[in-house]
C-alpha cells in the first residue's frame, strides 16, 4: 500500500500530506538508472555467486566426508566458523585486508611478484571482492547441509557399485551427486534468495560504490527509505524485489519438478 503513495519525512509527521499517486513510484523506479544498475549488480552477484557457493561448499563437504578422525572434525569446525561471525566485524576486517596500500592481500601478491590489485576501487573487481567475502561466510552452513545429506546416502549403493567395478570418479558422478539433488536444490534456493538480499557487505565496505557498481537492490531500498526518507519510493523497490524473489523461487520449483518427472 505504502508503495502507491508519496510518503516522505513530512508525511511522517502529518498524515494529511500523503497523497495517493498510483503507480508513479514504479514508473520512476524503472527510469532510475541507479535502480536498474542495482538490479544488474544483483544479477551479477547471483550468476557468479550461486554456482561458486555451491561448488565450493559441496567440494569441501565431499573432502571432509572422506574421513572421520579428529582432523576432519577440526576442519569442519574451521570451515564453519566464519558463518557465525558478525558480518560487520568481518567486513571491517576484510576491508583492511583489501586495502591497496597496507592490506595483507596485496602484500602477499607483491611477495609472489604480482602487481597490486585495486580490490575495492575497480567497479568489476569490487563486485568480485564482495563475492569472495560472502563466499567465505556462506561456505560453512551450506557445507553442513551437504554433509548431512552425504551421510544419508546408504552405503549399500557404493558397495554395489564397487562390485560392478565402478571407479571412485564414476561413483562420485553417478551416485553421490545425483543423491545430493535435494540438498543442492535447497542450497540453491536459499543462496539465491540470500544474494538477492545482499546488504551488509556492500553497506559496510563500499556503501554501494565505486560509481554504484556494488549497489544491490536491498541497499538501494535502504538508501532511499532511510537515508533519503522516500518511504513510498523505497517500498515500491521492495515490492519489486519481492516479486523477483517469488518468481525465481517458483521457477526453481518448476525446474525441480520437471527434473523429477523426467527421471520417473
Amino acid at each position: 500500500m505504502i508503495s502507491f503513495t508519496d510518503i516522505n519525512i513530512t508525511g511522517l509527521a502529518d498524515w494529511s500530506k500523503i497523497h495517493f499517486i498510483g503507480i508513479e513510484n514504479y514508473e520512476n523506479l524503472f527510469k532510475d538508472p541507479t535502480f536498474l544498475q542495482s538490479i544488474g549488480n544483483s544479477i551479477f552477484y547471483v550468476v557468479i555467486g550461486v554456482p561458486l557457493v555451491i561448488a565450493c561448499s559441496m567440494g569441501i563437504a565431499l573432502l571432509i566426508n572422506f574421513g572421520n578422525s579428529w582432523v576432519f572434525r577440526l576442519f569442519r569446525l574451521i570451515f564453519y566458523a566464519p558463518s557465525i561471525t558478525n558480518v560487520v566485524a568481518v567486513a571491517v576486517v576484510w576491508n583492511y585486508l583489501y586495502n591497496p596500500q597496507f592490506g595483507l592481500l596485496n602484500f602477499i601478491l607483491h611477495f609472489v611478484h604480482l602487481g597490486p590489485v585495486p580490490w575495492l576501487q575497480d567497479p568489476i573487481i569490487a563486485k568480485i571482492s564482495l563475492i569472495i567475502l560472502a563466499l567465505w561466510r556462506a561456505i560453512g552452513v551450506d557445507m553442513l547441509i551437504f554433509l548431512a545429506a552425504l551421510q544419508g546416502i546408504p552405503k549399500a549403493y557404493y558397495e554395489a557399485a564397487q562390485i560392478d567395478g565402478a571407479n571412485s570418479w564414476q561413483r562420485l558422478i553417478k551416485i553421490t551427486i545425483p543423491m545430493l539433488r535435494f540438498a543442492t536444490f535447497f542450497v540453491t534456493v536459499t543462496t539465491l534468495i540470500g544474494w538477492l538480499q545482499f546488504f551488509e557487505e556492500p553497506f559496510v565496505m563500499t556503501s554501494g560504490g565505486p560509481l554504484n557498481s556494488t549497489n544491490s537492490i536491498a541497499l538501494f531500498i535502504y538508501q532511499n527509505g532511510f537515508q533519503f526518507s522516500k518511504f513510498g519510493y523505497a517500498a515500491a523497490g521492495s515490492m519489486v524485489l519481492f516479486v523477483i524473489i517469488i518468481l525465481v523461487t517458483l521457477i526453481q520449483f518448476r525446474g525441480q519438478h520437471k527434473q523429477q518427472d523426467n527421471q520417473m
Binding site: 505504502i2 573432502l63 574421513g67 582432523v71 558478525n86 560487520v88 571491517v92 548431512a148
Partner: protein, 276 residues
Amino acid sequence: MNESIQHKKLSKLIVLIILSVGGFFMVLPFIWMLLSSVKTDMEILQIPPTVWPKSFTLDNFINLFTQMDFLIYLKNTIIIVLFSFIGLFLNAMAGYGFAKYKFKGKNSLFYLVLATMMIPGQVTMIPVYLMLNMAHLTNTLLGIALPGMVGAFGIFLFRQFMSTISDEIIEAARLDGCSEFYIFWKIILPVSRPVLAVQGILTFIAGWNSFIWPLIIANDQKYYTLSVGLALLKGQHASNYALQMAGSAFMVVPIVIVFLALQKYILQGFNVSGMK
C-alpha cells in the same frame, strides 16, 4: 590389496593437504585481525607489514572503551539479547500451542505463520518502521528489540519438536490438577531441552550480531549496538586500522568462544532442523 591400501592412504593425504590450504585461507582473516589488534598505530601503517607484532599493546582495546562509547554499545547489545530471550520463550509457548492444543483455524493460522518466512526482510522493513514510528518507538531500545523477538522459524522448530511429546503425560498432569502454565513450565520445557539449546544459541548469536534494525531505528548514538557502533567506527577512524581490528576482535571473539564451547549442540541442531 596392499596396493589399494597404499592408494587410499595417498588420496587421504591429498585430501588433507587441500583441506589444510583451504582451512588456512578460512582462518587467515581471524589471525590477521587478532595480530593487528595488538599492534600500535605506527606499526600497522608500516610497509611492508610486520607479520608478528613487535610490541604487544592493549591500548586499542582500552581506547574502545575510554574514547569510544563501546561500553554503551555493549550494554545495548546485551539488553537486546535479553529481549530476544524473552522472545525465545514466547516462541516456545506459541510452538506448544500449535503442537498440543486444538482450536478453530489452527492449521490456517499455522500456515500464515509459515508464510511469513517466505517474505524477505526488506519488504516488511518499511511498513514495520512506519508502524513503530506511529507507536513512537523509533529511537528506543524497545523498538530495536521488538520486531526480532518472535520468528516463524523458531515457532516452527518448537512445534515440530513438541508434537512428538506424548499426550499421555500432559493428560496425566491435567488429572493431577496442574495448571496449564505449570505443565508448560515443568514438563514441556524440560523435555524440549535439545531444541531450547539450539534455539538459545541461535538467538544469542542473532541478537549479538543484529545490525540492520538497530541501524534503522536508532538515530541516537546512545542506542547503538556493537555492530552499528563498529560500522560508525569504521567511518570515523577510517585509517586507524588497529582500532578497527580491536573492535572487530571484540565482537568476533565472544561468538567464537560460545561457538567452540557449544559446537556440539549447534551441529546437532542441523540434524533437528533437518528432520522436518
